[in-house]
């Protein structure tokens, strides 16, 4: 994945060199040059869109770079990117800054990202609240009997701290507290799936796309926003509707209402084909 990104970046760099002379968004010969920058979570998705779009529109040239949602928004405010990709909403401070620079950020939801909390299929526990999951990960709960399960120690699995999901989970589920020292940091999602399929009393979190693929190896927990709220099983429908609590929108931000080549790219992203790519890359379409 990382190598792929590096390759992509290198490719984009070479291409931008080639097209350095045709900087304008719309060139005389009809070629299009677009830059997309921001969230590392979305880089893979955005490059998949860009690749397909470029295949269909000869002369279109789109460069996608990561760096994080904050970097992307900063680039939009500085006018160095056409589209900012962000896995969080723009902050009030950033909107004010944009205003002072005469930039008007327009938000557009392009996909949703759901995180499934998974356990071994033999684990009798089916439903947990956000608070309970958080307490497992900060180390307040260490035994399944505290959660209505058998008297077995909980094996806590997490992604590596370099993963964006690690931080999102910490923020959304663990009220920004630190992970327990006993949490095992797994180098990849597949390693989490592998361990959970073998360790009866382990718990982990993985992207929804991976969870669907590993359906026969792991069990997705139903999640309750709070004690009174209904238990929600993660699915494309519940993530789309916002009922499933551990999910986030993946945004595009543009300066002002999109027009020209930006608009035609966004139309493609929201089209049936564009949203099919969303599903293929493991995220949830918006409509």
């Amino acid at each position: 994945m990382k190598e792929k990104l590096q390759l992509l970046t290198a490719l984009m760099l070479t291409m931008s060199l080639f097209f350095a002379c045709s900087k304008g968004k719309n060139d005389g010969d009809g070629s299009t040059y677009l830059t997309i920058k921001g969230s590392d979570t979305m880089v893979h998705l955005a490059s998949s869109w860009a690749e397909t779009f470029m295949d269909e529109h000869k002369g279109a040239d789109i460069s996608v770079t990561g760096g994080g949602s904050g970097t992307g928004i900063a680039a939009l405010l500085n006018g160095t990117t056409d589209i900012c990709i962000a896995s969080r909403s723009i902050k009030q401070k950033e909107i004010e800054l944009a205003g002072s620079k005469g930039i008007e950020p327009i938000e557009l939801a392009t996909a949703r990202d759901g995180i499934a909390v998974v356990v071994n299929p033999q684990n009798p526990v089916d439903v947990l609240t956000i608070e309970q999951i958080g307490k497992i990960y900060i180390g307040a709960y260490t035994n399944w009997k505290q959660l209505g399960g058998p008297d077995k120690e909980i094996v806590v699995l997490s992604r590596e701290s370099s993963s964006g999901t690690y931080v999102f989970f910490q923020k959304r589920v663990m009220s920004k507290k630190d992970y327990t020292r006993d949490a095992m940091l797994m180098p990849s999602t597949s390693a989490i799936v592998q361990s959970i399929s073998q360790d009866k009393w382990a718990i982990g979190y993985i992207g929804l796309g991976y969870a669907f693929e590993a359906k026969d190896k792991v069990k997705m927990l139903q999640v309750k926003e709070n004690v009174e709220a209904p238990a929600v099983i993660p699915s494309v429908a519940t993530v789309q509707s916002g009922e499933y609590a551990i999910a986030r929108p993946l945004h595009f931000y543009t300066n002002g209402t999109p027009s020209g080549s930006v608009k035609s790219f966004i139309d493609f992203v929201l089209s049936e084909e564009g949203q099919k790519i969303v599903l293929e890359t493991g995220y949830v379409p918006v409509n």
């Binding site: 990382k2 590392d40 120690e153 701290s161 630190d178 020292r181 006993d182 592998q194 073998q198 382990a202």
Partner: protein, 278 residues
């Protein structure tokens, strides 16, 4: 040109030290070297970052010590058997397989550990999870055994034949000759072999990253999950913000690792040289 070729590696080692140091130095001012001695490693947090290398150091230590203990009997007895006891047919069969073992990429060994060894250990010792220090240690011992066998075997073979003949002529049995005469004479070489094997064990990254669970806590329990120094660098370097404190802390981890392996190698060379003079 020949001198240049030979001294390139010296230059490279020197440059590696230099550049590691250069990236790590700003850490001394802020947050200060003392923070490396904290007991917690929490690089990504909404609260206070902590860069205590201790849990990573004990992680590497536990894995290395365990692997060395496992390495000893297999490496040394294996070498004795190949050098002294086995027939030449056995030797021509065993040697290539040991060399093949040395050539298996560590990620493949790690995959084997994840899919085969870790579930097996979990079942045998009735553990909560198979991702433990001992799982990593077994894999590392596997990887270092070829090094230890080859160098120990060389050492055993270079014991002068006269020693052996004299011992046998005095009426000592074959095993007596091996354990009372040959092994003591070859001991410095065997020790050097083990130390070089340990160097390989400490520096190995991919397999331990895959099977030790990577929980950064201070523990000496072989059946607990540990996070080694190498695994930490491999897992975190890719996404760390360039020039941040976390980035500098990772370079400190690298420096510490380099000093340890450097020291081990120097001692091993010293021991080897002493043995060659005899």
């Amino acid at each position: 040109m020949l001198v240049g070729g030979a001294s390139t590696s010296i230059l490279v080692v020197f440059l590696i030290f230099l550049f590691l140091g250069k990236e790590a130095i700003p850490f001394i001012e802020e947050p200060g070297l003392g923070s490396l001695f904290e007991t917690r490693w929490i690089p990504v947090t909404f609260k206070q970052q902590a860069f205590g290398v201790l849990p990573l150091f004990t992680g590497s230590l536990v894995v290395t010590v365990l692997a060395t203990i496992l390495l000893l009997p297999f490496g040394v007895f294996g070498a004795i058997y190949i050098a002294e006891i086995g027939s030449s047919v056995e030797r021509s069969f065993l040697k290539p397989f040991i060399e093949v073992l040395a050539g298996i990429p560590s990620v493949v060994i790690g995959f084997f550990g994840l899919v085969v060894l870790s579930p097996a250990l979990k079942y045998v010792f009735n553990l909560n999870t198979g991702l433990t220090a001992i799982t990593g240690a077994i894999l590392l011992a596997l990887m270092a055994i070829p090094t230890v066998i080859s160098i120990s075997e060389d050492a055993i073979r270079s014991v002068p034949a006269a020693y052996k003949e004299a011992s046998l002529a005095l009426g000592a049995g074959k095993l007596q000759t091996i354990f009372r005469i040959i092994v003591p004479a070859a001991l410095p070489g065997i020790i050097a072999a083990i130390m070089l094997g340990m160097g390989r064990v400490i520096g190995e990254t991919m397999a331990v990253l895959m099977v030790t669970g990577n929980a950064a806590k201070i523990t000496f329990n072989p059946f607990d999950s540990v996070r080694t120094m190498t695994a930490t660098i491999a897992a975190e370097m890719g996404e760390v913000a360039f020039g941040s404190q976390h980035y500098q802390a990772l370079f400190w981890v690298g420096l510490i690792l380099l000093v340890i392996t450097f020291g081990l190698n120097i001692v091993a060379q010293k021991v080897l040289r002493k043995y060659q003079i005899r």
